[in-house]
C-alpha cells in the first residue's frame, strides 16, 4: 500500500490523460451527483455528501474537502459500457436485395466514437456490478462487441467508501464498502488536517501509473486511519438484507400475498431497473426512412416493468403489475444466481432512492420472510 497526497491527485489525472484516457467521474449537477467527463479534481464533488432515503435524495455540505465523501449518485457506470441507445445494424435497399452492415463499436453509440475511459471513483458496490455485467455481456456465451471494446480499454480507479447512505446495504451483499478485486487502482481517502489517499494497485496498468506518481510507502498509522474510515461506512449502512436462503425463499413463494400488496403501490415506471447497475435488459427497434430505402436497428435500454418487454405473438405474458414486480425482485435476488452464479444485487440502494414511491427491496424481502409459507419451505 502506498500513500499519495491530495496535492498529487491532479497529477494522477494528467498521467491518465497523457495515456489517452477520457476521465469520467462524479460531479454535481441539478442537485445530485451524476457521472460525466471531468478534467481535474476540482470537477469532483469537493466537500459534498448526500442524504438518501426511499424516494429521497439531497446533497449536503461536508465539513471537510473530501473528493469522494459520498455514496452512489444518480447515474451508474453502465451508461458508458452498456449505453442507453446503440445502433446495431445499418441496412440499405439494393434493388431486390439489401445490404446490411453492423457499425463498429467505435461508431455505434449514437455516432460518438468509443473512447478509452478511465472511471474515477468507482464505489465498491458498483465495481462488483461491473464484474456482474462482465458475466452477462462477456461470459455467458454471447459476447456483446460494444461492451467488450469499451471494457477492454477501461481503466478503473475504485474509491473505497468512507461514508454510506441511508439506502446502502452493500455490506449485506458482500459487495463493499471495500473493493476486493477488479480495479486498476483502489483508493481510500483520508480527508482531515492531512489529506491523503492510501492506494492499492490491482493490475499492471495500475502499478505503472502509481509508480509514476509521487508516492510513499504507507505508514501503519495511515493504514489504520484508512481502515477506520472504511469501517465507519460499514457501521453506517442504512439498510440490511438477510441473504440467507433468499433464493429459495423467493422461488418457493410465487403466490405470496405480499406480491399483490406491493403491486398496489408499484407504479411499474421502470425507474428501479434503469438506475440499477446490474440490470442489462434492452429492446431492439427497427426504423426506416420515409422512402423505405434505408433502415436501422437500434438497441435501447428496456425493463421488465414494461408491457412490451414480455410481449410475444398474441399478447403480453406479464400483464399484471404483480407479475412484473415479482419478475424484477426474483430475478435480482434468486434466478440471477442460477443464470450467472451470483446475486444480481450489490446493495447500492439506488432502486430504493430513485423509486418515486420509495419501494424498498430490503423491506420486501423481510415481509416475505416474516410470513413465509412454512409448509412450502419444508419441501426444500
Amino acid at each position: 500500500m502506498f500513500t499519495v497526497d491530495r496535492t498529487n491527485v491532479d497529477q494522477l489525472f494528467r498521467l491518465l490523460q497523457q495515456k489517452g484516457y477520457t476521465l469520467i467521474g462524479p460531479t454535481v449537477r441539478d442537485g445530485a451527483l451524476i457521472l460525466d467527463a471531468i478534467s481535474s479534481a476540482s470537477d469532483l464533488p469537493v466537500g459534498w455528501t448526500d442524504d438518501q432515503g426511499p424516494a429521497h435524495y439531497r446533497l449536503r455540505r461536508r465539513d471537510d474537502a473530501s473528493l469522494f465523501g459520498y455514496s452512489v449518485g444518480a447515474h451508474s457506470w453502465k451508461r458508458y459500457l452498456f449505453p442507453p441507445a446503440v445502433k446495431l445494424v445499418d441496412a440499405r435497399r439494393q434493388g431486390r436485395s439489401m445490404d446490411c452492415t453492423s457499425p463498429s463499436p467505435d461508431s455505434a453509440s449514437q455516432g460518438t466514437p468509443l473512447k478509452k475511459y478511465a472511471f474515477i471513483g468507482v464505489k465498491p458496490c458498483e465495481l462488483n456490478a461491473i464484474l456482474i455485467q462482465d458475466k452477462v455481456f462477456l461470459g455467458s456465451g454471447t459476447v456483446d462487441p460494444f461492451y467488450k471494446a469499451a471494457r477492454e480499454r477501461l481503466f478503473i480507479v475504485a474509491a473505497n467508501c468512507t461514508q454510506a447512505s441511508g439506502t446502502c446495504f452493500c455490506a449485506s451483499m458482500d459487495a463493499g464498502p471495500r473493493a476486493q478485486r477488479g480495479f486498476d487502482l483502489a483508493i481510500t481517502e483520508v480527508a482531515g488536517k492531512q489529506h491523503y489517499f492510501v492506494i492499492d494497485a490491482g493490475s499492471k496498468k495500475g502499478t505503472e501509473i502509481l509508480l509514476e506518481l509521487p508516492h510513499r510507502k504507507s505508514s501503519q498509522q495511515e493504514l489504520d486511519e484508512a481502515a477506520r474510515r472504511v469501517q465507519k461506512a460499514t457501521d453506517q449502512m442504512g439498510r440490511q438484507l438477510d441473504t440467507a436462503g433468499v433464493r429459495d425463499l423467493l422461488l418457493k413463494n410465487p403466490e405470496h400475498p405480499r406480491w399483490e400488496e406491493v403491486s398496489q403501490r408499484c407504479l411499474n415506471c421502470a425507474n428501479c431497473t434503469l438506475v440499477c447497475p446490474t440490470c442489462f435488459c434492452s429492446s431492439v427497434e427497427d426504423t426506416t426512412d420515409l422512402a423505405g430505402k434505408t433502415a436501422e436497428r437500434w438497441r435501447r435500454w428496456d425493463s421488465c416493468f414494461t408491457l412490451d418487454f414480455s410481449y410475444i405473438h398474441g399478447g403480453c405474458i406479464r400483464s399484471s403489475g404483480k407479475s412484473r414486480f415479482r419478475q424484477w425482485m426474483t430475478h435480482k435476488l434468486a434466478s440471477w444466481n442460477d443464470q450467472f452464479g451470483s446475486s444480481g444485487c450489490v446493495g447500492c440502494g439506488r432502486c430504493i432512492t430513485w423509486c418515486p414511491v420509495g419501494i424498498d427491496i430490503t423491506e420486501e424481502v423481510r415481509a416475505i420472510r416474516g410470513t413465509k409459507r412454512q409448509e412450502q419451505l419444508m419441501h426444500s
Binding site: 444518480a74 434503469l274 426504423t287 420515409l290 412490451d308 432512492t353
Partner: protein
C-alpha cells in the same frame, strides 16, 4: 407508376397545434409529399382533392352534434384513420366542461347564449368511430408523427412505446426532480413520447401524453398525500389536457370533495 396514397387532415374542436406539427416537419415534409399526395389539408393548401382517402389524420374532439355526424362521414371515406393529440384521443382541455354543467358556462361566457349549440361533453374520436391508431400528446411530437406516417408508408408497426416518461428520462440521464428536489412529476404515470421534455428543464411532467399503459395514479397520489399535498392540488394535477382520459379522470374525481 404506382399511385401514391392520399392524405387528408381533419379538424374538430382543437387549437390546430397538432396539425401544425405536420407543417413543422419542414425538411421531412418534402419527403412525405414524395410518398403521399396531400389531398385535403386546408391548413397547407387550398386545393382539395375528392375522397375517399387512404390516410386520414384527425385532430380535435367532438363537441357538437354536427361534428358527431361529420366524423362518421370522415370514417366512411378513410381507409386508415389516425387520431392525433390530446383533444382527439382524450377530449382535450375543453373536456374540463365534462366535470361541470356546460349550460352554466355558456350563460356566463356568451352575451347571446342562444347562438351556442354544444354537447354537454367533449369526447375523443374513438368514442364515436373506430380508430386505427391514436397518437397522444398536447401537442404531439413531430418526430412521433413522422414515425407514424413512416410506419404506415412502409407497412410496419410504429415505434410508439406506451411505457412511462421515466424510461425516456432515465435514458437521457436526467436527474429525477421528483426524488432530488421534490416537486410533483407525473412522469411515472404518463405515456412516453416527449423524450422527457419538462424534466430536462427541471420541471415536473404535466402529463401531456396522457396515461401510460397500466397507470397506477392512486399509489403516486397517496405517496404525495403523505408528504403533505392536499386533495385540491392533486385534483388539479390530473385535470388538464388529458383530464377526461379514463385513468386521469378517475384519479381527479377521487380527490373531489
Amino acid at each position: 407508376m404506382k399511385r401514391t396514397p392520399t392524405l387528408a387532415v381533419w379538424k374538430f374542436a382543437s387549437c390546430d397545434g397538432c396539425q401544425l406539427s405536420l407543417l413543422d416537419c419542414e425538411a421531412e415534409l418534402l419527403a412525405v409529399t414524395e410518398r403521399l399526395t396531400i389531398a385535403n389539408f386546408v391548413e397547407a393548401s387550398r386545393e382539395v382533392l375528392k375522397g375517399p382517402y387512404d390516410l386520414s389524420l384527425v385532430e380535435g374532439s367532438i363537441t357538437t352534434a354536427h361534428d358527431a355526424e361529420r366524423i362518421h362521414k370522415i370514417r366512411r371515406i378513410s381507409k386508415t384513420l389516425i387520431t392525433i393529440g390530446a383533444c382527439a384521443t382524450a377530449g382535450g382541455i375543453q373536456a374540463l366542461r365534462n366535470f361541470k354543467d356546460v349550460k352554466e358556462f355558456v350563460s356566463i361566457v356568451y352575451s347571446t347564449p342562444a347562438y351556442i349549440e354544444t354537447l354537454s361533453k367533449s369526447t375523443p374520436i374513438a368514442n364515436h368511430v373506430y380508430v386505427d391508431f391514436e397518437l397522444h400528446g398536447c401537442p404531439i411530437n413531430k418526430n412521433q408523427l413522422l414515425e407514424v406516417v413512416n410506419a404506415y408508408l412502409n407497412g410496419r408497426k410504429p415505434n410508439i412505446p406506451a411505457y412511462s416518461v421515466c424510461v425516456e428520462c432515465k435514458r437521457r440521464g436526467i436527474v429525477c426532480g421528483l426524488v432530488a428536489a421534490g416537486p410533483p412529476c407525473l412522469g411515472p404515470v404518463t405515456h412516453a413520447g416527449c423524450d422527457a421534455l419538462c424534466p430536462s428543464y427541471h420541471r415536473g411532467c404535466f402529463g401531456c401524453y396522457g396515461p401510460k399503459e397500466t397507470p397506477n395514479t392512486g399509489s403516486l397520489t397517496s405517496w404525495w398525500k403523505q408528504s403533505g399535498m392536499k386533495d385540491d392540488e392533486l385534483l388539479r394535477l390530473f385535470r388538464n389536457f388529458n383530464a377526461y382520459a379514463d385513468a386521469f379522470r378517475k384519479e381527479s374525481e377521487s380527490h373531489e370533495k
